[in-house]
Subunit: 495 residues, 2 copies
């Protein structure tokens, strides 16, 4: 029997309130997160979403759950307003077979996720890999009388669904009447019985690159269908957590629920979690007005919006400083502050590891234990990373005080020092998934240090300081570094 | 118009002779390689296959071709002799959903491919992602009268195929009569009209985990079908190169050809390339008798078969020392030799980069140019890496002679020195895909060097040798390394 360490409360978008998280099967969690559309490089806002869910995943793992984490790859592309499939658009742009475009940007996405040190999902299904399942789901919705076929395309009947199930719009809080008012003259609009109806299968035009045979037409699945089909396949008709960016709440997630209810008779997920938007300088990021920055530009500093490059771990730390459920405003000043905070945190971990106590008393224990308890309690409260981090920084202050002698380290018991080390590591590295970025400067530093050392060795030889030159020789030999003196100066290699 | 730098000859398994390679569309290549079955960790023999095709891919790119390189992921699993699907077997072992097993070992496979510094294919389709396409191919073969349905399973009619197409067995050189003689009492044998017939769709038993709806049964595609369906989808009915390990020649590739001819009326690939087996100590690797080693064991040295750990780049170098078409015998002695050779090669590149000529004559040019030409000619001759490497080592000797002054570097023209640098880099790093492994020791070396430097600084201070201590301070500041003197000794960080 598994033991779960923490009772966790989450903000459920469906009920619009915080609820104690109770999985369907004790100790096990099924979690589905809407993944990237791989027709271009991943946006920083998407990175925020995936980093946020990664931290939830990590914390739930830390709490002791066994989790099946499914995050899809949208390689079919979404049906755009102008009726053009995004993947085909990407393919035309790059003059590639659509699946080559998908592969290229999938690889890029995976690379970026690895740069941000996120864990891989347990299953990463591709939309194009589940056409059969999507066709079957369309058929089930048709069989249940909740969709209709027009000219080879299949539309979900929102009006009939709302009448029969009384649930359309529950997640987004929109009602059919609003949707009618909002609806614009979209392509194929004329084929729909009602403006809020949506395509679950689209007949493809001649030029359309990605298309499959189906009972209704050679075509492709509608935007929302893949997540319904793949979450059902890998997590069952009802599972625990469904996540995504809050721009997906409507229409994507609303329609996902309608499709699942329409096909299987039940709502897919018990808890719907949504991450909030990433702004820059207080405004929505947007390519058209230049208020945008890519992850790579952020790392290199090659952007008018930042004064310097920031390490990916600094960017991640910056993201942690705001709750996933709040908008996050990216500014150069905030990144600078994150840079300082991140370095202070990494430094404190080294200091903590060097601390030793004689444990002559344990008067410092209570405060340390209380802060650690609180850091976890903050995470239990809807994964509140900024609050948890602020506790950790109170601990950083304590750790530095121990080091400086402002608090006597010997008033800390061995048990609590050991807990401090374990929990600090667990939160900072296991749960937040930070890592020490300083090692990325290694190669340049090595070359520089070796330059200095060969220089010092030369000086020592000239001064007949054999003690120093022997010391250098021995250390280099220990490190398996071989220095070669050649005509053109010295060079070095590892043996 | 693209210009192709090299005329390349390949050994075509189909014709059993070397042929000049001529792609269907000038300047473009479609290449399909049978990828891994992701139900367990990748074997070293498979690594050899994928490294070999990676080098061909890299060389064809170097030659100037635009290539669509497709390598599949077999996540359906193959139908084993005992009728059990390999993926399900893996899933039972690990108590996971089959797709979780597939994801886990796909990730592991990608990680290993990245350790061996191979390039990613342009498209990496999964078998489970192409069930629809496989069902359609089964239907096409049925429509052409070359398959029959028994109890929900569909079998390819080899006898009728051989009679009508006169081509079954062309690749493997087997004839139907031999196959009859060879056939054993396999499961479902009784359903077949003829022992050499093979399943293209299998009805699934109740317990079978991976299954899909089809016109014939809830079941799964036969072992050989996925490659026929996916190569056709992404490369067309006929493409240029089909590769794989030579254990796949029969029955996998033979049946692939039969399926393609049966469904589309033409043989899929013009050139069939096969890699040969990896042996250990002269014998076939086999788990049952302990004559086996995993890549990780090879890297760590934790195996009775090796005296030490070998860097992945050394293992790759070792693979290059034998032609892909010959058996490769892994022994500790051969790896030790590879270790030396690899380091000599990396060292020579550093030496080459430091060479400078005054070009007072060009008497050394001819020999260098001839060796470089020959190194490419060897690669043009069916990607002969061992021969090409031997030319490169003749160049290494020359490079070292230039450095030592045994040959006067000033007898080399600037043009030829520049070509030597470019081509050396192109072959060793771009085509063979080697990289300098020494950087992996960076962290330990950095710590060690900083220990030495703080020690030297301490000594200098004690001796009031301000010159030395200033020099150290300035260099560390330049490298953005901050040294902190604390109660418990000194520590350092990057700023």
């Amino acid at each position: 029997m598994m033991s779960i360490k923490h009772e966790i409360t989450v903000y459920n978008s469906l009920s619009r309130k915080k609820e104690v998280f109770k999985p369907i099967n004790e100790g096990f969690i099924g979690m589905y997160v809407c993944g990237p559309t791989v027709y271009s490089d991943v946006h920083l806002g998407n990175v925020r979403t995936f980093v946020s869910f990664d931290i939830m995943y990590r914390y739930l793992l830390h709490a002791g759950y066994k989790i099946r984490y499914v995050r899809n790859i949208t390689d079919v592309g979404h049906l755009l307003d102008d009726g053009e499939d995004r993947m085909s658009k990407g393919a035309k742009k790059d003059k590639l077979e659509p699946m080559e475009v998908a592969q290229k940007y999938s690889n890029g996405f995976h690379h970026m996720m690895s740069i941000f040190n996120t864990k891989k999902p347990n299953i990463e299904p591709r939309a194009t890999g589940h056409i059969l399942e999507q066709i079957e789901m369309v058929q089930a919705i048709l069989d249940n009388g909740l969709a209709y076929v027009v000219n080879g395309s299949v539309y979900f009947d929102t009006l009939k669904f709302a009448k029969e199930k009384e649930s359309y719009g529950q997640l987004s809080g929109r009602i059919i009447e609003d949707l009618i008012a909002e609806s614009r003259e979209l392509k194929n609009q004329s084929e729909k019985n009602h403006p809020s109806d949506f395509a679950i299968w689209m007949k493809a035009s001649e030029e359309h690159l990605m298309k499959w045979n189906s009972p209704w037409s050679v075509g492709f699945p509608g935007w929302h269908l893949e997540c319904s089909a793949m979450s059902t396949k890998y997590l069952g008709k009802t599972f625990d957590i469904h996540g995504g960016g809050n721009d997906l709440k409507f229409p994507h997630h609303e329609n996902e629920i309608a499709q699942n209810v329409g096909a299987c008779g039940c709502s897919p997920a018990n808890y719907w979690l949504h991450t909030n938007m990433l702004l820059m300088n207080g405004r929505k990021m947007s390519k058209s007005d230049g208020n945008t920055i890519s992850p790579d530009e952020l790392f290199s500093g090659e952007s008018p919006h930042v004064s310097q490059g920031y390490d990916p771990m600094v960017v991640k730390f910056f993201m942690l400083m705001t709750h996933y459920n709040s908008t996050l405003d990216l500014t150069d000043d905030a990144l600078k502050a994150a840079d300082k905070g991140y370095k202070r945190l990494m430094e404190a971990y080294k200091v903590l590891n060097a601390l030793e106590t004689k444990a002559t008393s344990n008067t410092a224990d209570d405060e340390i234990n209380a802060l650690l308890d609180q850091a976890f309690a903050d995470m239990n409260d809807d994964f509140n990373t900024p609050k948890s981090l602020s506790r950790i920084f109170e601990l950083v202050t304590k750790i530095n005080s121990f080091k400086e002698g402002h608090i006597d380290i010997n008033t800390l018991s061995n048990e609590t020092l050991s807990r401090l080390r374990d929990d600090f590591y667990a939160l900072v590295f296991d749960v937040f998934g930070l890592k020490d970025a300083s090692s990325s400067n290694d190669q340049a530093a090595l070359d520089g240090l070796m330059e200095l050392i060969t220089d010092l060795r030369q000086g020592a030889r000239e001064n007949k300081d054999w003690g120093t030159s022997d010391k250098i020789r021995d250390k280099l030999s220990e490190l398996k570094i071989q220095v070669k003196d050649g005509k053109d100066g010295t060079s070095w290699t590892f043996n």
